[in-house]
């Protein structure tokens, strides 16, 4: 502080701005930490709010005696680790064989829709394609002459393969997106030219020269994928194994058990889940470290590589397969929503509008809720993100070291809710809400959504903010002498497209939230997502088609709107192209 104090008026505003930034961060991180904290005591038998007032290890004893505990933990571990690794390999494969080629543009075109589609809707779609009476089996049945569906274990299989597949479809685009953001900061084309002139195949250049620098930049996103897939509940309910389920699903079942003693069990389970996430991330980190040692000699052994082309076509095919499955799933939802009767092995259904007609009345309220919560959370998240980024920029201008420190802190704080298992701290937050009687209001739900929407918006905007050339603003300040005018007319103008993209992203994140909605709403605030998940239990495919499609379309509409607003504006009552488009 003392060096700051020396320079008079600016200093105090610097201190105020850093205090403001810290205050915002504390406000953001407090519920998360309070959630984790409030789960710790119940995990050891102390939960006065539910009438348990003595410390004991009995719930741990019960936890250890749970039938198939090891299988459930193993299942969670296996599905998350393998889906993360597969997505990482696939994402890297796509990046290194597509970067700088026309194929890259095609990949980029699919990233936004793939990232925007809510997990549950995608799970429904994939289920309709892969299940024993699904599209794929029907196509085969035509040639094989089946009249009954095969006894396949293609969805909800006990090894969790279908769950892994779904997570890979969802996470690969996210990792590609994060890698692309990191790659632009590296001298890739120079490296490629240099490596090429030495006779290295391009795949090998990526692996040996770029990867060691790229990976540290995407390490945290990889960990968030890992943490997410361990504690995911909604997708696991739709497409994951059922007997036994993954561990996170089991915790949810304990929470909703009418025997309140099981709440203690759920609390202990949540702590165990947290330990699981921490240790998996730890193992990942250790593996990285060991690999970087072991592979050091391989990095410099001078082999120029042989199978580049093979790997290239493989990752290209895998990517195509992924997109195809996404498209097939979306079409399956569309078809089922208009079906009257469609028995196996028929390829052509009897059509009807009935499902839409019947669903429409019940849907309006969840749709309105989803829109209200999504738009509010997105606007709030982007406003807060911009304020934080501006405060960071301001600090940076005041003092390089303080600015750097603050921006590291902000970034770190943003990752906390993404790295902790949702189940753990949301269960804790729910206990707090219960005590305060704050459940069941849409603002509470919005608040919990913000814990996930804000980090994604902030991380999405921080890249463009970093690359922004401050000289634009300086020029603006010189001309207008108003910070606000400069910000709105110059900086926002230049950064308009990333802001629009961030709005769309925030909305997509909010639409997909299941657990936060469930825990904060006490069942009173229904969104399209909670409705869709509760439909799973009904097995009515036509209704699932309707809800899945609506869930898929909502974020898509926002992406289209954001895209449109990025390039067009309304001037004097008619559309005009934006200046910088």
């Amino acid at each position: 502080m003392s060096p700051l104090l020396k320079s008079g008026k600016w200093v105090s505003s610097g201190a105020v701005s850093s205090l403001l930034a810290l205050g915002l961060l504390v406000l953001f991180i407090l519920p998360v930490l309070a959630g984790v904290g409030s789960i710790m005591l119940p995990a050891f038998g102390y939960m006065p709010v539910l009438g348990f007032e003595t410390f004991s290890f009995s719930s741990w004893q019960m936890l250890l005696e749970t039938p198939a505990l090891i299988q459930m933990l193993g299942l969670s571990l296996w599905t998350s680790a393998s889906s993360t690794l597969l997505s990482l390999i696939l994402a890297f494969g796509v990046i290194c064989f597509a970067w700088g080629t026309p194929f890259w543009h095609k990949v980029q075109r699919w990233l936004a829709p793939l990232m925007a589609v809510p997990h549950v809707a995608l799970a429904f779609g994939v289920m309709f394609v892969l299940m024993p009476s699904g599209l794929m089996a029907r196509l085969i049945a035509v040639f094989a002459g089946w009249s009954f569906p095969p006894d396949w274990q293609t969805v909800q299989d006990s090894y969790g393969i279908s769950l892994i597949l779904l997570l890979v479809i969802k996470e690969t685009p996210f990792l590609i997106f994060m890698m692309a953001a990191a790659v632009v900061q590296l001298p890739v084309s120079d490296t490629l030219r240099l490596g090429g002139s030495l006779g290295y195949q391009s795949g090998v250049i990526w692996l040996k020269l770029i990867w060691p620098r790229l990976y540290p930049m995407i390490r945290l996103p990889v960990y968030t994928v890992l943490a997410f897939s361990i504690s995911v509940v909604d997708v696991a309910l739709v497409i994951g194994p059922a007997n036994p389920p993954t561990f996170a699903v089991q915790i949810l079942q304990w929470i909703y058990d009418p025997d309140l003693a099981n709440s203690l069990l759920a609390a202990s389970g949540s702590v165990l889940l947290l330990l699981l996430v921490v240790s998996v991330i730890g193992v990942f980190y250790l593996t990285e470290w060991v690999m970087s040692r072991l592979l050091r000699s391989w990095l410099v052994n001078g082999h120029r590589g042989r199978f580049s082309i093979f790997w290239g076509s493989l990752s290209r095919k895998a990517w195509h397969g992924l997109v195809m499955l996404f498209l097939a799933g979306g079409s399956a939802l569309l078809v089922w929503s208009f079906v009257w009767r469609w028995r196996f092995p028929s390829l052509w259904p009897d059509w009807s509008l009935r499902s839409w007609e019947r669903a429409w009345d019940c849907m309006s309220e969840p749709i309105v809720n989803s829109l209200l919560i999504g738009v509010t959370a997105t606007l709030a998240a982007n406003t807060i993100s911009v304020i934080l980024l501006e405060l960071n920029d301001f600090q940076q201008q005041q003092s390089k070291s303080a600015g750097k420190w603050l921006s590291l802190l902000t970034r770190g704080a943003m990752y906390i809710p993404l790295l902790l298992p949702q189940m753990t701290f949301l269960f804790g937050v729910q206990l707090l809400l219960l005590q305060w009687g704050a459940e069941g209001h849409w603002l509470t739900v919005t608040g919990l959504h913000l814990l996930f929407v804000l980090p994604y918006c902030f991380l999405g905007l921080s890249g463009p903010w970093q690359h922004y050339d401050q000289r634009h603003s300086l020029q603006g300040l010189l001309l207008s002498r108003s910070w606000l005018k400069t910000f709105v007319q110059v900086k926002l103008g230049v950064l308009w497209r990333p802001v629009m993209a961030s709005l769309a992203l925030g909305f997509a994140v909010s639409i997909a939230q299941y657990l936060p909605t469930l825990f904060a709403s006490a069942g009173r605030v229904e969104t399209v997502t909670t409705e869709a998940v509760s439909l799973v239990s009904g097995g009515n495919r036509r209704l699932i088609g309707v809800y899945g499609l609506v869930q898929m379309l909502l974020p898509f509409i926002f992406y289209v709107m954001a895209f449109f607003l990025s390039y067009w504006t309304i001037k004097n009552g008619c559309f005009a192209r934006r200046l910088n488009s």
Partner: protein
């Protein structure tokens, strides 16, 4: 004209109710007996403008549509806003209300009305989570005859004590497709041992919903009732029986059955409705439901082919009643009672019993109704796949509700891989 009449009636009732209330206040604390003493018209008056959050399982399109219909009706008739909170498991509602009670949320609870029976009711009753008694004071309750339908006041061996009002009747029936059966040249099994033979003949084409799903657990209880040598023991609390001895025939049976099931019994569908599309596609050959008219209404809604029929085991199948109850901390108890009274009325019950709507059998007894009301029911189509009351055969009593948790735990310990 009608409006005038009713308002005069309301006024006079209001006056008398004020008098009664004053007397009651003299005698003792009004709140204890409030539910009994407030005249019906008073309750209807107070219910106007209240919102009722109705927590009911939301997995079925037909049921959701019926609740939608009821929402419109109570809005029009009583000015009550009924909101269907679609839950996937009623036990989650019980745990929420219990948590609210322990957390000290004595009013403004998040649940105003809950669809319930069996062990969930027992749990709420034992923990003092229910409003009432109110059920037997509802005007519509006059249509219920506990003599004819004992399960309308005895819920899985637990007396309802007016803390819940009956809503619908249930009996376990099995569903099959006659067309598929004739192609496979087979007939439906008539008891547990024939079912085992059936599964052996059609390997991988039989399954049941994953316990603790309601119907899945009922299927276990059905098998247990058929297999155990002394089914009378099941009617008493489980603590009074030798659980291992009573249930060992069931486990022996399941050990034999499971390898023959769909996916070799390694996994099970989430519930009985998940069986419907599988039956439709021929992925499995048998489905089961607690609603004897479900198959007919599924034909009407296009979920099953017109060739499906239902059957029951020769020795009879389990039957029970499902109920409506009001949590203790609801702020809309008046409106909740008015809604229940409406749902129990001959009009709403007849609409519900229509297989084109939901097909849920009524809890009302025809002997208690007048001619016009009775006609509403006799005019209903039976539905192509619904068995007549004679064909439904003997209704086996539900085991005491304390058996449920024990059975589910024992099942989990054995058959979770």
């Amino acid at each position: 004209m009608k409006k005038n009449m009713s308002s005069i009636r309301t006024w006079s009732k209001k006056a008398t109710s004020a008098l009664i209330m004053a007397t009651v206040a003299f005698i003792g604390s009004a709140s204890d007996i409030e539910a009994k003493t407030v005249p019906w018209q008073e309750i209807v008056e107070q219910s106007k403008g209240q919102t009722v959050y109705f927590n009911a399982w939301g997995g079925s399109e037909q049921i959701n549509d019926y609740i939608d219909w009821a929402t419109d009706q109570v809005e029009k008739r009583y000015g009550i806003a009924l909101k269907h909170v679609k839950v996937s498991d009623t036990s989650s509602v019980v745990s929420r209300v219990l948590a609210e009670k322990v957390a000290g949320r004595k009013s403004n609870g998040t649940v105003d009305l809950v669809w319930i029976n069996g062990e969930n009711f027992r749990s709420m009753k034992q923990n003092g989570l229910l409003f009432g008694p109110f059920a037997e004071d509802l005007p519509s309750f006059q249509g219920v005859d506990p003599q004819e339908k004992p399960t309308t006041v005895l819920d899985f061996g637990e007396p309802a004590d007016g803390l819940e009002a009956p809503w619908g009747m249930a009996q376990l029936v099995f569903i099959y497709d006659t067309d598929t059966f004739s192609r496979k040249q087979t007939t439906p099994p008539a008891n547990a041992s024939e079912l085992l033979e059936f599964a052996r003949k059609h390997k991988g084409r039989v399954t049941y919903p994953l316990p603790p799903d309601f119907v899945g657990t009922t299927f276990l209880k059905q098998l247990l009732s058929e297999l155990t040598p002394e089914p009378g023991v099941l009617l008493k609390p489980v603590s009074e029986a030798d659980f291992d001895a009573v249930t060992s025939p069931l486990w022996r049976y399941l050990d034999e059955l499971h390898p023959l099931l769909w996916r070799e019994g390694e996994t099970f569908p989430a519930n009985n409705l998940a069986l419907t599309p599988m039956l439709d596609d021929g992925e499995i050959l048998l489905s089961m439901t607690f609603n004897p008219a479900y198959a007919s209404s599924a034909i009407a809604s296009g979920e099953l082919p017109e060739t499906v029929r239902t059957y029951v085991h020769d020795a009879g199948t389990l039957g029970n009643t499902h109920f409506l109850a009001i949590p203790f901390n609801s702020d809309s108890t008046e409106a909740a009672q008015v809604v229940i009274n409406f749902l129990l009325s001959p009009e709403a019950q007849a609409h519900k019993a229509n297989p084109d709507v939901w097909g849920d059998p009524t809890v009302l007894s025809m002997s208690q109704l007048n001619g016009i009301e009775r006609k509403r029911f006799s005019n209903l189509p039976l539905g192509p796949a619904t068995l007549s009351p004679e064909a439904l055969g003997k209704v086996l009593p539900e085991p005491h509700s304390s058996w449920v948790a024990e059975l589910e735990e024992a099942w989990k310990a054995r058959y979770r891989q």
